[in-house]
């Protein structure tokens, strides 16, 4: 099935821009240039999730011949928020929250997308060094006054990642990056309906033979617009008036119903 004409035009424009940028770059080693299909996602009343395309072009220096197999890993991190993870245990026959850990300034959204499994792209050491994959992303935990990164097999960390993944907010996929030519690729970043608002950082790393050879970064903003934006800001900045407005709305609705359905 063909994409609609405006989309094909947009893709062509992005590719032309990438080619221009790639040609004007100094030729020392591989260079990566990326471009996002949009740097601004707007949430209006009809928002039900979205997809962002990340285009990338790997520029080869003169001494490198084509034919090197490149791998790509795209890491997208959403705004930082703190989360409390609680564990239930049986107390007096009831299942009760007993133990908790707070993940401080954790990405509210995290996607790691690659063209093939991360284990095939680089070995464990490189993965750890380059913070590749959800297991290697830093998740700070507050323990009393101290902050510490959690190891990948920490039960609270695993539960946190499992639950966020279940909500579609943590994603690790080796099927969402595809090479269009040997050096041009596209990644599709899925944004679920419940995506948080704020700044999203896109970090793209290119590997060859298990080593990092090039890297580029970009950012996009997800924000509510129009009525949704107005409500969120008003509820935060004018809490009393917002509450009064909702209370009056309730009275009005009730009054209207009693008038409409009046039977005497």
């Amino acid at each position: 099935m063909r994409a609609p004409a405006p989309v094909r035009l947009a893709v062509a424009a992005v590719l032309a821009q990438l080619t221009f940028l790639a040609l004007s770059a100094p030729a020392s080693a591989e260079r990566l240039v990326i471009s996002l299909s949009t740097d601004r996602v707007q949430i209006a009343s009809n928002f039900t999730g979205d997809d962002i395309a990340v285009f990338g072009s790997i520029d080869l220096p003169a001494y490198l011949t084509e034919g090197i197999a490149y791998d790509v890993a795209v890491t997208v991190q959403g705004p930082r928020q703190s989360f409390t993870t609680r564990r239930k245990e049986r107390v007096l026959g009831l299942w009760v929250n007993v133990d908790s850990r707070e993940f401080v300034e954790a990405p509210a959204y995290l996607a790691v997308l690659s063209n093939r499994p991360l284990a095939d792209i680089a070995d464990g050491d490189v993965q750890r060094r380059e913070r590749l994959g959800i297991a290697n992303v830093r998740l700070l935990q507050r323990i009393g006054p101290d902050y510490a990164d959690t190891v990948a097999d920490d039960v609270f960390r695993q539960a946190f990642v499992r639950i966020r993944s279940g909500e579609g907010l943590y994603i690790e996929s080796d099927a969402d990056v595809s090479f269009l030519t040997g050096t041009v690729f596209r990644a599709t970043v899925p944004l679920p309906p419940n995506v948080p608002t704020g700044r999203f950082d896109v970090d793209v790393k290119v590997f060859a033979a298990g080593q990092l050879v090039a890297r580029d970064r970009a950012a996009l903003t997800i924000s509510k617009v129009g009525f949704e934006h107005f409500v969120a800001v008003y509820a935060r900045d004018h809490a009393l008036l917002y509450g009064l407005a909702v209370a009056l709305m309730a009275l009005g609705t009730g009054w209207l119903a009693s008038v409409i359905f009046r039977r005497d």
Partner: protein
């Protein structure tokens, strides 16, 4: 090379007229699902003369609305449905405003306390437990009492023997308390202390559990204070209206959880359903209605008990750390 239709372009922002994005809950919901829930709960609340919060709050949590948003937003929904009922009773003059005022005084204190406890419980991660246990206890006890009372009434009417005991004028255990006051419309002479206590208790539970407490207030007014049945429903609705409106304000001030869009959908569905429910209710006998309501209340209580007692599928929960003002 082919730029075929992929996920990147195929699914982008396909407008869906059924889904609407909730600005505070920060997720889209199906308008008709929420409207339908509003109508269904409104029907039940109109039929039995209760707020229906004890049904609405769990339903919203069940369809994925964050618990805090559910509890807070349901207060606005109940303000609307009680307003429509209260206006109808006001036209008939079936409201004791003096009694409602004293109940409200206690209710304000109770609601403020409840909103404060709600915020603290949420911070310590025990809100689910507190809501669960209070639902189990309250709904279990009230449901059983209602079932017992209505079954007796039905049996009595079958045998056509003794008349139900006349309640008004019986001596009460709090008869000796000071600060007596005369409530003209109810023709009642009673100390304000138990009235304040009842108002406070209902307000507190309403704010913590996201219920209007109508299903507790009505029996309390009838059996404890001996308020004439004709005045009870209207007076209870006025109190519900005032405490819920106050809870809306206090929640709006204390947390970012009140969602105006969700509230509006619920209100519209709720007031519509309530009108039809009220007609259905008038076609039934009082004790049959009370038996049905008792069974419903007990069933919801049991559901919460099962949730607390059975091992959960997921031992962990993740909540964004409190967005307190």
């Amino acid at each position: 090379m082919r730029f075929g239709r992929t996920r990147a372009f195929g699914c982008v922002a396909r407008p869906n007229p059924v889904q609407i994005y909730l600005p505070i809950a920060e997720l889209p919901v199906n308008v008709f699902l929420i409207l339908g829930m509003g109508i269904a709960v409104g029907f039940i609340s109109g039929m039995f003369g209760v707020g229906g919060g004890f049904l609405m709050t769990p339903l919203l949590i069940f369809v994925g609305i964050p618990p805090a948003v559910s509890v807070v937003t349901v207060t606005a929904h109940m303000a609307a449905s009680s307003a429509s009922g209260a206006i109808a009773y006001w036209r008939k003059g079936a409201i004791d405003f003096g009694l409602a005022g004293v109940l409200l005084l206690g209710g304000m204190v109770g609601t403020g306390l409840g909103v404060w406890v709600f915020t603290i419980l949420r911070r310590f991660g025990q809100l689910d437990l507190a809501i669960g246990i209070s639902y189990v206890l309250l709904l279990g006890i009230i449901g059983s009492l209602m079932i017992g009372e209505s079954v007796q009434a039905i049996l009595r009417s079958r045998r056509k023997t003794a008349q139900p005991p006349r309640l008004a004028g019986k001596p009460r255990w709090f008869a000796g308390l000071p600060f007596r006051m005369h409530f003209r419309r109810s023709n009642l002479d009673v100390s304000v202390l138990p009235v304040l206590a009842i108002g406070g208790g209902i307000g507190f539970l309403g704010a913590v559990m996201g219920i209007s407490g109508g299903f507790m207030l009505v029996p309390a007014l009838i059996y404890l204070l001996r308020v004439p049945t004709g005045v009870v429903l209207g007076t209870s609705l006025v109190l519900t209206l005032a405490t819920m409106a106050a809870a809306v304000l206090m929640h709006a001030l204390s947390s970012l959880s009140l969602d105006v869009v969700l509230a509006l959908i619920l209100m519209v569905g709720g007031v519509m359903g309530a009108q039809f429910g009220a007609r259905a209710g008038q076609a039934m006998r009082g004790e049959q209605l009370r038996l049905l309501l008792g069974l419903l209340v007990l069933a919801v209580g049991l559901r919460f008990l099962i949730d607390l007692a059975l091992p959960p599928g997921e031992m962990f929960t993740v909540l964004q750390t409190e967005r307190v003002r």
